[in-house]
Symmetry: C2
Subunit: 257 residues, 2 copies
DNA sequence: GCTATTCTTTGATCTGGATCAAGGCTCCGT
DNA sequence: ACGGAGCCTTGATCCAGATCAAAGAATAGC
C-alpha cells in the first residue's frame, strides 16, 4: 500500500510478462505464447486518481479490471441512496466479475488512492478462455474464491461481536498483504474509519473505540492510517474466522509456485 | 415447494430434454445435440432424504449439483462449531460452485425435505464448457448472479433493521417461487424459524414476533409453515432491497425466453 | 395411541453497540 | 501561515433486539 502512491509510468505500459502480479491475477504455468495473446487484449489504462470511479452501478458491463497498484473499494447503493461497501481490493485482484450475469455493473468501484489497472474486455477474455488451457478454470476459480470470501464476511456480519469483526478484518488484511510480499504486521489502511465501519456493519465510533482498546491491550499500535500488529495470534483468536479465508490462502500457494 | 414432496421415480430417470427446469439450470438455446452431450455426463442420483447431506465441508469437490425438486440449505461452520446458513436453494439452482477454487467443499448442503438432484462431475462439465457454445458463459453468469445475491444479503445483514430483513427474505422467496411457476403469494416454508433466524442474523424469538406482527398489520397470514402474502407491495417497501435481486430477475427472463 | 423431543410463540428483562454531542487532529486550498 | 472541512476520538445516553423463562403445538419414536 505504501508503495502504491508512486506510480511509475513505464511500469504502466509494461506487459504481463514483466508484471510482478500476473501470478495473482492470471493462471500460472501459462505458455509464453498464451501470455502474449492475453497481453494483446489488455488495455493499460491511465492511473485512476483517488476518489475517481473505475465503474459505476448501472453502467454497461464491458470489461473486468485487474488491479496493478493501489486499492479500491466496491459498493452497492440501497434505495435510500446509502452506500454499502462490499469489499476492498488490493493489487492482483480482478474486479467487476459480479456484472457478468446482468451485463450491467451492480457495484461501483472507487479508488481509495491513485491506482493503476489493466482493463480486460470481457468478451475477448471469454473467447480466450475457450482457447487457453486453464484460463477458463482460473476465471471460475477466482469467482469461486470470491464466493467463499463473501460467505465468511456474511458469517461475520450475522453473528460476530464487534471485536471479532474488526479483528477479522485486520487479520484478513494482514494475510493479503503477506500474500503480496508486503509486511503482514505493518501496513497502512487506505480506507477511512467510516469505510471500515460500513463494511463491518457498525458505527464509526465503535471502530475508533476498538482501535483504542486493541492498542491498550497490546494487540497493535495504531496511529492515523498506520497499523502495526503486535500480537497477530491473539488477534486471530479474537477473529475466530469461519474457515480460513481461501482468497489469501490460494494466493499464497500461487505465489510460492 | 408443495409439489416437491411427491417424488416421481420416472421423472428422476428422465433426461434434460424432458426436464422442466433445464432452462433454469442450463443455458437456453442449446442445440439438441449439445443437450444430449450434457445429458450424458449427468448422474441422476437417488432422492436425498430430509436431513441428509448432499455434501459436507471438507469433502473433496468432485461435482456440482442441480437441484430438481425440494429445497436445500447450505451453511458454513465457524470455529465454535456454530452453523451459519449462507442460503436456501430451490429447484433449478446449481450448488457447490463455491468449492471450485479449493477443490474441497467449503459449505455443507443439507436437504430441508426430500430432494432430487442431478450430479454433474465438474471436470467433465468444464471440458464441455470449452466445446458447447454458451455453456462457459452460462457458468460464469450463474456464479456472477450468486455473487450479486450475496452482495444484497450482505447489505441486509450490515444495515437493515429486523423488519426489513424478514420482509426482504420473504419477498425474495416470493420472487423465486414466481420464477418457478409457483404462487408468489402462497407457499410453504421448508426451513425452520431457527434456520431463517440464522440466515438473517437474528434470534428465533424475533422471527416469531415479526411473523405475528406482520400478520397483525395485515401484511400476510402465517400458519406454521404456510405463508400467504396479503400485501406484497407493502412488504417490498419494508424490504427496501439494495438492488433488485438479479438471481430471480434473470431466472424470470430465462423462463419467458 | 402415547410420550418424548423438538419447534414455536409470547412475555419480561438486560445489554451491546448505536446514536447524540462535542472537542481535537489533519489536510487542504488560499 | 491561516481558516475551514472533513476525519477521528472520547464521553454520555438510549434503545433495538438478544437473552432468559416458560408454556403451548407439532412431530417422531416406540
Amino acid at each position: 500500500m505504501t508503495k502504491s502512491r508512486v506510480v511509475n509510468l513505464d511500469e504502466l505500459r509494461s506487459h504481463c510478462q514483466k508484471c510482478s502480479l500476473y501470478r495473482l491475477c492470471m493462471p500460472m504455468g501459462l505458455e509464453q505464447g498464451d501470455l502474449e495473446r492475453l497481453d494483446r487484449i489488455i488495455h493499460r489504462r491511465r492511473p485512476v486518481e483517488k476518489g475517481e470511479y473505475l465503474y459505476r452501478i448501472g453502467e454497461p458491463f464491458q470489461s473486468v479490471y485487474a488491479l496493478r497498484a493501489g486499492s479500491i473499494k466496491t459498493f452497492t447503493i440501497n434505495q435510500e441512496g446509502h452506500e454499502q461497501i462490499v469489499g476492498f481490493h488490493l493489487p492482483g485482484e480482478l474486479l467487476g466479475l459480479d456484472a457478468i450475469a446482468g451485463k450491467v455493473h451492480v457495484t461501483s468501484a472507487r479508488a481509495l488512492e491513485t491506482v493503476s489497472v489493466c482493463e480486460l474486455p470481457f468478451e475477448r477474455l471469454e473467447e480466450l478462455s475457450l482457447q487457453i488451457p486453464g484460463l477458463q478454470h482460473h476465471l471460475l476459480s477466482l469467482m469461486s474464491e470470491e464466493l467463499q470470501h463473501e460467505h465468511c464476511h456474511l458469517a461475520v456480519l450475522a453473528r460476530a461481536p464487534v471485536e471479532s469483526r474488526l479483528a477479522s478484518f485486520l487479520c484478513q488484511l494482514s494475510d493479503r498483504f503477506r500474500a503480496r510480499g508486503y509486511s503482514a504486521t505493518d501496513f497502512n489502511l487506505s480506507m477511512s474509519r467510516n469505510d471500515i465501519a460500513n463494511l463491518l456493519g457498525m458505527a464509526v465510533e465503535t471502530i475508533s473505540r476498538l482501535f483504542s482498546q486493541f492498542q491498550e491491550q497490546g494487540l497493535l499500535k495504531v496511529e492515523r492510517k498506520h497499523v502495526q500488529i503486535r500480537d497477530l495470534p491473539a488477534l486471530q483468536t479474537l477473529a475466530n474466522r469461519c474457515t480460513t479465508d481461501v482468497r489469501t490462502e490460494s494466493a499464497l500457494n500461487r505465489q510460492e509456485h
